[in-house]
Amino acid sequence: MPPDIELLPNQPESSRPVFANEQEYAEFRESFVNEVIPQQQEWLEVRRRSEEQARQRFVR
C-alpha cells in the first residue's frame, strides 16, 4: 500500500484548529449555504435577463 501523501511533510500543524470541532465546521457550512446561495440565485436571474436583453441589442 502506498504511503499517505503529505503536502508539507515534517511541517508541524498549528495547535489551533481551523474549526474548534465538527459542529462548528457544520455550522459554517450551513451558514455559507444559507447566505450565499440566495445571492447566487439572484445573480442567475440577472444573467438570464441580461441574455434576454442581448437578443434585442443591435450593434453595427
Partner: protein, 495 residues
C-alpha cells in the same frame, strides 16, 4: 527622405522633406486621408520611419476578398500594402540583415486594404504606443517577416470594419479571437468571413452578408462556437439588483487578463486594459474592505471606428485622442470565459466575502490586519502562471511559497489578494490571499483551496488530493508583505 521609391519596399524617413503626408502619395490608392489620420493618432511623435511593403497578400483581406469582394462587378485589388513602423531611422540592410537596432526600433505593422471607407486592415502595434503610459493591458506576440528577416511585436490586434463583409460586430469579434489564437494554441485562428458566417445559423431572417450588423447575443454565440463559455452582463439588469456591481465585474474580468466585448449605444468595442489611480481616497471605515476596482479610472479600448489603445474614461472624453464614450454608456459586456471557468466573478466574490467576514476563520483572526483599511484585489489566473511567480514574489514566508508550489491546483483559480490600502497604494504590496477553485459550482462551500493571512496559512489537503475538504492550519512565525501578482496584464515596466 524616401529611399527605394520605385521598389517593392520604399522607406520613408520623416524629416524636413518628408512627413506622414508623403505616405498618402506613396501608398495611393489604398491609403486615404481617413486611414492616415487614424495611424497618426497612435503613432505620431513615436514613429520616425516607415517601411512600405507593396503587393502584400494579407490572409484576412484575401479571405473577405474571396468570399465577398471578388463577387462584385467592379472588383478591388486582391492585394494590400503593409506598413511597418520604426521608432528610429533604419535602412534596407539593417532590416534585411537582422540588425539589433532595427529589431529594437520595430513598432509593429498595419495592413492597408483597398476597401472604402475603411482601409485599415489587420494591425498589430506595440503596446508601448498606448495613449496612457500607466495603463495595464492584455497583449500577445507575433513574429513578423520583412524582407526575409524576423521582427517581433507585442500588442493587442486591431482591425477596422470594411462596412460590407464585416461591420463593428465582426471586427470586435476578430480582435478578441485573434488575440486568443495568437496567445494560446487551444484556440484556432479565425478569418473575418468565418466570423461573419459564425452566426449564419442564428440570423433569424437577417442577411449574413453584406453584414447589416448583429445583436449582441449573436456575438456571444460566435464566441461559444469558438470554444469559449461566454457570459453576458447587462448594466440595466445588474443596477436593478446589485447597484455598482456592473463596473466592479467589468474591471475584475479585465484585471484577469480577459479582453471582452462592451456594447455602447448601437456599437461594440473591445476592452483590453485599464488604468487605476490610487491617490483616490479610500471610502473609509464605513465599509469593512474595498476592492481595487474602486480605484479604476479608465479602460483601454480598441474601437474599430477609431484607432488602437484609446482610453475610455470614467467621466468621459478629456483629451482629443480619448474615446467619445464614458463608462455609463457601456450598456452591456460579454466576457469570453475559458471553458474550465465554471464559477463567474460575481459568484466567487460572494463566496470569498463569506469566508473573509467569518469571525472564526476570516480577516478578524489576523492581529496584523486589525485597524487596517483593507483592500481586496480579485482576479482569475491559471495555476501555472500563479506558481511560476511564487519564488520571485516570496509570498511573505518560505512555507507559503513551498506549500503553494507543492499543492495540486485546478487549471484556473480565482485569487483574492488581501492588502493594507496604505501600503498597497504606495508600493503595490499585499499581505495574503484566498484561493478559490474556479471549477466549483456556486453552491459548494468547498471551493476554498487556501487562505493565507499574515500569521496563518490554511490549506485544504482534501481537495488537493481529490478527497473531501480537510483543512490544515500552519502558523507563520515571520511574515513580510510581498509584491502583488502581475502576469495577466502588461505594463510598460514589464515588457
Amino acid at each position: 527622405m524616401i529611399t527605394n521609391q520605385q521598389s517593392i519596399f520604399p522607406i520613408v524617413t520623416f524629416d524636413a522633406a518628408d512627413s506622414w503626408d508623403s505616405l498618402l502619395t506613396l501608398v495611393k490608392p489604398e491609403l486615404d486621408a481617413k486611414g492616415l489620420k487614424r495611424l497618426k493618432q497612435v503613432l505620431e511623435g513615436k514613429c520616425q520611419c516607415v517601411v512600405v511593403e507593396r503587393h502584400y497578400i494579407d490572409k484576412d483581406y484575401r479571405d473577405t476578398f474571396s468570399n465577398f469582394h471578388s463577387k462584385r462587378f467592379n472588383t478591388p485589388s486582391s492585394r494590400c500594402v503593409r506598413l511597418h513602423f520604426f521608432s528610429a531611422p533604419i535602412t534596407e540592410q539593417a532590416v534585411a540583415f537582422g540588425d539589433a537596432a532595427a529589431k529594437k526600433a520595430y513598432l509593429g505593422y498595419s495592413v492597408i486594404r483597398p476597401t472604402k471607407p475603411n482601409c485599415v486592415g489587420r494591425t498589430l502595434l506595440s503596446h508601448v504606443l498606448r495613449v496612457n503610459p500607466s495603463a495595464h493591458l492584455s497583449a500577445c506576440d507575433e513574429e513578423v517577416h520583412l524582407m526575409g528577416a524576423p521582427l517581433d511585436v507585442q500588442g493587442f490586434p486591431f482591425i477596422s470594419q470594411d462596412s460590407d463583409a464585416t461591420v463593428c460586430a465582426e471586427a470586435a469579434l476578430w480582435m478578441i479571437l485573434r488575440y486568443y489564437s495568437n496567445r494560446y494554441p487551444w484556440y484556432s485562428e479565425t478569418l473575418p468571413f468565418e466570423i461573419t458566417s459564425l452566426t449564419a445559423d442564428h440570423a433569424y431572417g437577417m442577411r449574413v452578408c453584406p453584414s447589416g450588423g448583429r445583436n449582441s447575443w449573436q456575438l456571444a454565440e460566435g464566441l461559444r462556437l469558438k470554444r469559449f463559455s461566454p457570459v453576458i452582463y447587462s448594466r440595466e439588469e445588474i443596477d436593478k439588483r446589485f447597484p455598482g456591481q456592473f463596473d466592479h465585474l467589468l474591471y475584475t474580468y479585465v484585471e484577469s487578463g480577459l479582453p471582452l466585448l462592451a456594447t455602447v449605444p448601437g456599437h461594440v468595442i473591445v476592452v483590453c486594459g485599464h488604468t487605476s489611480d490610487y491617490t483616490v481616497a479610500h471610502p473609509g471605515s464605513a465599509t469593512q474592505f474595498v476592492y481595487s476596482s474602486h480605484f479604476n479610472r479608465a479602460y483601454v479600448v480598441h474601437d474599430d471606428n477609431e484607432f488602437p489603445y484609446q482610453m475610455l474614461n470614467m467621466d468621459g472624453k478629456k483629451e482629443e485622442r480619448d474615446s467619445k464614450f464614458d463608462w455609463k454608456q457601456i450598456e452591456e459586456f460579454i466576457v469570453p470565459l475559458p471553458e474550465k471557468v465554471f464559477l463567474p466573478a460575481e459568484e466567487v466574490k460572494n463566496a470569498i466575502e463569506k469566508v473573509l467576514k467569518d469571525p472564526g476563520v476570516g480577516l478578524a483572526q489576523s492581529a496584523a490586519l486589525k485597524d487596517k483599511q483593507i483592500l481586496l484585489r480579485l482576479f482569475l489566473t491559471s495555476a501555472r502562471s500563479f506558481k511560476r511567480r511564487l519564488h520571485d514574489r516570496g509570498m511573505g514566508n518560505d512555507l507559503v511559497e513551498q506549500a503553494y508550489r507543492q499543492m495540486p491546483m485546478p487549471h484556473f483559480v480565482w485569487i483574492c489578494e488581501i492588502a493594507d490600502y496604505v501600503e498597497y497604494s504606495s508600493s503595490r504590496k499585499v499581505l495574503g490571499e484566498i484561493i478559490w477553485d474556479a471549477t466549483r459550482n456556486a453552491h459548494e462551500p468547498d471551493g476554498w483551496i487556501a487562505l493565507h493571512l499574515p500569521e496563518r496559512l490554511i490549506m485544504d489537503h482534501g481537495s488537493a488530493l481529490n478527497k473531501n475538504q480537510d483543512f490544515r492550519p500552519y502558523d507563520l512565525l515571520m511574515h513580510n508583505s510581498y509584491s502583488l501578482f502581475q502576469s495577466n496584464l502588461h505594463t510598460l515596466n514589464t515588457q
